[in-house]
C-alpha cells in the first residue's frame, strides 16, 4: 500500500513536468496559433542554464530558479520578434518547420560545446533528505518539485482569469478579430506571451536538472509526450493541459509499476488516439464554432 502511494506521488511529480510544459505550449498555441516544436529544446536549455549558472557563475539552484526562466523568456521574445511572428500569418506548417529547425540548431549547438554525456548537477543541500511517514519514503526534492509545479500552474491560472492582462490574452485567444475591433492591440501581447511560454519550459528545465541527467537531448523525446498531453487535454485549453498533465503522469507511473514494459511505452499515444476518435477537440477543448 505504501508503495502504491509512493508510485502515485511519483506520478504526480512527473505529471508536474508534463503540466508545466503543456501549459506553456497551450498558452502559445492559444494566442499565436503556433505549434512550438522548440519547447523541448527550451526545457533542455533551462536545465543547462542551471548547470552553467553553477559552473560558470557559481550561482546555486535557488538563484537559477528565477534567473534562468527570465533569461530564456527574453530569448524567447527575441526569437518571436526575429522570426516566428513573420510566419504566423502563413500556414501553421511554416512555423512548425521553423521551430523544428530551431530545435535541431539549439540541440546541436549545445552538443557541439558539451557533448552528449550528462553533466553533473546535485539536488540542493536543503532538499537532500527523505520524507518518511510509516513505510512511505520519498525524496524531499521531488515533493518540492510537485508543490512548485502546482503553485506555478495555479499562478498562471490566476494570471489568466483574474487579471486584466489575462483577460486580454483570453479574449485574443477566443476571438482575435473581435478583440481587435474593441480597440485592444492584440499584436502587442503575442511577444510577451511567447516569452512567457518559453520561460515556463525553462522553469521546468531548471527543476529537472537535479533529477535527471543534464544532456542536450533531454527534451527531444519528452516533447512528443507533451504534445500528446496537449492533444488529449484539448489544444489551447489551459485547464485541459494541466489536468491532463497530472493525469498522464499518474497513469504512466502506474503502468510502469504494474504492467509489462510495452504498456507504459504506448499508453499515452493509445489514449490520445482514443480521445481523438471520441472527442476530436480533446477532453477539455471546445468544438470550433464559426466566428
Amino acid at each position: 500500500m505504501a508503495n502504491f502511494l509512493e508510485q502515485t506521488v511519483n506520478g504526480l511529480v512527473n505529471g508536474g513536468f508534463y503540466a508545466m510544459l503543456a501549459l506553456g505550449l497551450a498558452v502559445i498555441f492559444g494566442m499565436l496559433k503556433v505549434v512550438n516544436f522548440a519547447h523541448g529544446a527550451f526545457y533542455m536549455l533551462g536545465a543547462f542554464g542551471a548547470y552553467l549558472c553553477l559552473r560558470e557563475l557559481g550561482l546555486s539552484f535557488w538563484w537559477a530558479l528565477p534567473l534562468v526562466p527570465v533569461v530564456l523568456g527574453v530569448l524567447g521574445m527575441g526569437l518571436e520578434r526575429a522570426v516566428i511572428h513573420r510566419l504566423t500569418r502563413l500556414d501553421p506548417l511554416y512555423n512548425f518547420l521553423l521551430t523544428f529547425g530551431l530545435t535541431l540548431i539549439l540541440q546541436d549547438l549545445v552538443k557541439w560545446r558539451y557533448g552528449v554525456s550528462a553533466n553533473p548537477y546535485e539536488v540542493p543541500a536543503a532538499l537532500r533528505g527523505t520524507l518518511r511517514a510509516g513505510s512511505f519514503e520519498f525524496p524531499a526534492y521531488r515533493v518540492f518539485v510537485f508543490g512548485f509545479a502546482v503553485l506555478a500552474c495555479a499562478a498562471v491560472w490566476w494570471l489568466l482569469t483574474r487579471t486584466r492582462i489575462g483577460m486580454v490574452v483570453r479574449a485574443a485567444t477566443e476571438r482575435p478579430e473581435l478583440t481587435g475591433a474593441l480597440g485592444i492591440d492584440v499584436a502587442r501581447w503575442t511577444t510577451p506571451v511567447f516569452g512567457f511560454g518559453v520561460a515556463l519550459a525553462g522553469l521546468a528545465g531548471v527543476l529537472a536538472a537535479p533529477m535527471q541527467a543534464v544532456n542536450p537531448l533531454m527534451g527531444a523525446d519528452l516533447i512528443i509526450v507533451v504534445f500528446a498531453v496537449v492533444v488529449i487535454g484539448g489544444l489551447g485549453s489551459i485547464l485541459g493541459s494541466v489536468a491532463t498533465g497530472f493525469g498522464v503522469g499518474i497513469a504512466v507511473a502506474w503502468a510502469q509499476a504494474y504492467a509489462p514494459p510495452v504498456v507504459a511505452q504506448v499508453l499515452v499515444f493509445v489514449v490520445m488516439a482514443a480521445v481523438l476518435l471520441w472527442r476530436p477537440a480533446g477532453l477539455f477543448g471546445r468544438e470550433e464554432t464559426p466566428a
Binding site: 505504501a2 508503495n3 509512493e6 508510485q7 511519483n10 506520478g11 511529480v13 512527473n14 502563413l90 500556414d91 506548417l93 511554416y94 518547420l97 546541436d108 552538443k111 557533448g115 552528449v116 554525456s117 550528462a118 553533466n119 553533473p120 539536488v123 527523505t130 519514503e137 525524496p139 526534492y141 521531488r142 537535479p210 533529477m211 535527471q212 541527467a213 544532456n215 537531448l217 533531454m218 523525446d221 519528452l222 512528443i224 509526450v225 504512466v252 507511473a253 510502469q256 509499476a257 509489462p260 514494459p261 510495452v262 507504459a264 511505452q265
Partner: protein, 418 residues
C-alpha cells in the same frame, strides 16, 4: 490553388532534408592491383548524435584512422594499396536507418568493411546486410549474443565484448561477493533482453536469485526510471542488489535517480551491467564509487594501453573507451588480413581471419573463433575509485582481476551455423 503554392516550398524543404541525410557516394574507381577497385574503404557506422555518441561516435573514426596510419607506416611501399580511406555515417540508433546506411556504404561508397555499430537492434540489421552483400562487418559496440548466435553469418565478426562476458564477470563476481537477491532493470530491446537473460543465468549459477525484472522503454522519452526504482523496496523477498542493464545516457539517468531515492541506504546495492569510462566521467566517480563491473579494456591498465591512450588523447583531448580501442584493433587486424591474403575479396579475408590468434593493444590472448566468429580475449573485473583515489583525470578504475578469455566468454552456443 493557393494552398498548393504555399505547400510546394515545404515539400521541397522536406525533400532537401531527406536528401541531406544520404551521403553522396562517388563512382568506384578502377585499379591495377589485386584489390577489386584498387582501394580499401573502411566504414564507421555508429551513433554520432544520440546517447551513445560519446562512447564511440566521431572518436571511433579517429581510432580507425589511427589504424590506417599505423598500417601505412608499417608496410610503406609494400602495402597492398596506399589508397585507404574511411567514411562514416550516423545511424541514430535506429535499425532502419542503420540498414539503409549500410547498403549505401557497401553498394555506393565501395566500403569493404563496416566497423562499430552500437545498439544491438541496429547491429543485427547491419549483420543482415553484410550477409546479403557478402561484405565484412566487424561489430564492436553492440553486445547482443545473437550476433554470434542465431543471427550469425560468415561475414560478421563479433569483436570486443558481448552480453555473456558482462554477465559472467559482474553477475558472478557480485553474487560471490554477497549479492543474493537481484532485481534487474533493463532497456526493453534486444540488448537489454539479452543482458537480463545472461545475468539471470550467471547469478543463478553462482548461487544467487533474481527476484524480479523490469523493462523500461527504449528510447525512454521521459528519461525517468523512478517507477522502476520505487518498485525495488516493495518486492518480496526484498532485493539486496539492483542490476542496471541500461547503457550510455540511460545508465547515467538510472544512477542519478538511484542515488536520489537513496536505495543504497535502504539496503539495495548497485551493480552495473555495461559501463564505459565516459559514463563514470559524466556522473563523477563518487556517484559510482565501489561499484564493480566488467570492462573489456582499460586505458590505464599497462604501458601498452597507456601509450595508445596518449596518441588518442593528442587527437581528441579525451581518453579512449574500450570501444575506441576495439575499433582501432579491428581495423588494423582487418588491414593485416587483407595484406596477408593479398586481396580484399571478403571470403578470402574471412578465411585468413578465422582461427587467428592475436595479441595487440586491445586483444590479450585473443582468438577469432572459427565456429561462430566471436573474438574472445581476456576481460577485466574493475571497480570505480572514489575521487580521493583518482590520481589524474580519467583515472577512474581499479582493475581487481583479469578474467581469462575462456572464462570471460561462453563457448559457442550451437545456434550459429555459418
Amino acid at each position: 490553388m493557393r494552398t498548393i503554392r504555399i505547400r510546394k516550398p515545404l515539400a521541397l524543404a522536406a525533400a532537401a532534408l531527406v536528401l541531406a541525410g544520404c551521403g553522396g557516394g562517388g563512382p568506384r574507381g578502377g585499379g591495377g592491383s589485386k584489390l577489386t577497385d584498387g582501394k580499401i574503404v573502411l566504414g564507421v557506422l555508429n551513433d554520432q548524435s544520440g546517447g551513445y555518441a560519446d562512447l564511440g561516435g566521431k572518436n571511433a573514426v579517429v581510432a580507425v584512422q589511427l589504424a590506417i596510419d599505423d598500417f601505412k607506416a608499417k608496410y610503406g611501399a609494400k602495402a597492398v594499396t596506399k589508397d585507404i580511406t574511411v567514411v562514416t555515417a550516423d545511424h541514430q540508433n535506429k535499425p532502419d536507418v542503420a540498414k539503409t546506411d549500410a547498403q549505401q556504404m557497401y553498394d555506393r561508397q565501395g566500403v569493404d568493411a563496416i566497423f562499430d555499430v552500437p545498439t544491438s537492434s541496429a547491429a543485427l540489421a547491419v549483420a543482415d546486410v553484410a550477409k546479403q552483400d557478402k561484405r565484412l562487418y566487424f561489430n564492436i559496440s553492440a553486445a547482443s549474443d545473437d550476433l554470434n548466435g542465431k543471427s550469425c553469418n560468415k561475414f560478421t565478426f563479433h569483436y570486443a565484448y558481448d552480453t555473456n562476458m558482462l554477465a559472467n564477470g559482474t553477475g558472478a563476481a557480485d553474487t560471490e561477493g554477497g549479492a543474493r537477491n537481484w532485481y534487474l532493470v533493463y532497456p526493453n530491446y534486444a540488448f537489454g533482453q539479452d543482458m537480463t537473460r545472461g545475468f539471470t543465468q550467471a547469478v543463478s549459477k553462482a548461487g544467487g536469485h533474481v527476484v524480479a525484472t523490469a523493462g523500461s522503454p527504449f528510447p525512454n522519452p521521459t528519461e525517468d526510471y523512478s517507477s522502476l526504482l520505487l518498485k525495488a523496496a516493495s518486492l518480496n523477498p526484498k532485493p539486496d542488489t539492483l542490476g542496471v542493464m541500461q547503457a550510455g545516457a540511460d545508465l547515467q539517468n538510472v544512477v542519478k535517480q538511484y542515488n536520489q531515492f537513496k536505495l543504497k541506504d535502504r539496503g539495495i546495492k548497485l551493480a552495473v551491467g555495461l559501463m564505459f569510462i565516459t559514463d563514470i566521467h559524466s556522473l563523477g566517480p563518487d556517484a559510482l564509487a565501489g561499484t564493480t563491473f566488467t570492462d573489456a579494456w582499460y586505458w590505464n591498465f599497462d604501458q601498452t594501453n597507456r601509450s595508445f591512450a596518449n596518441r588518442f588523447y593528442a587527437k581528441t583531448q579525451t581518453r579512449p573507451t574500450f570501444a575506441h580501442a576495439a575499433n582501432y584493433s579491428a581495423a588494423l587486424n582487418y588491414l593485416e588480413a587483407v595484406q596477408a591474403a593479398g586481396t580484399d575479396d571478403a571470403a578470402t579475408v574471412v578465411g585468413n581471419l578465422e582461427g587467428k590468434k592475436i595479441n595487440d593493444v586491445f586483444l590479450r590472448n585473443g582468438t577469432v573463433r572459427a565456429a561462430d566468429h566471436l573474438v574472445t580475449h581476456d576481460a577485466y573485473l574493475a571497480q570505480v575509485k572514489p575521487s580521493s583515489q583518482v590520481a589524474e583525470p580519467w583515472d577512474y578504475e581499479k582493475i581487481i582481476k583479469t578474467i581469462p578469455a575462456d572464462q570471460a566468454f561462453n563457448p559457442p552456443s550451437g545456434d550459429c551455423h555459418l
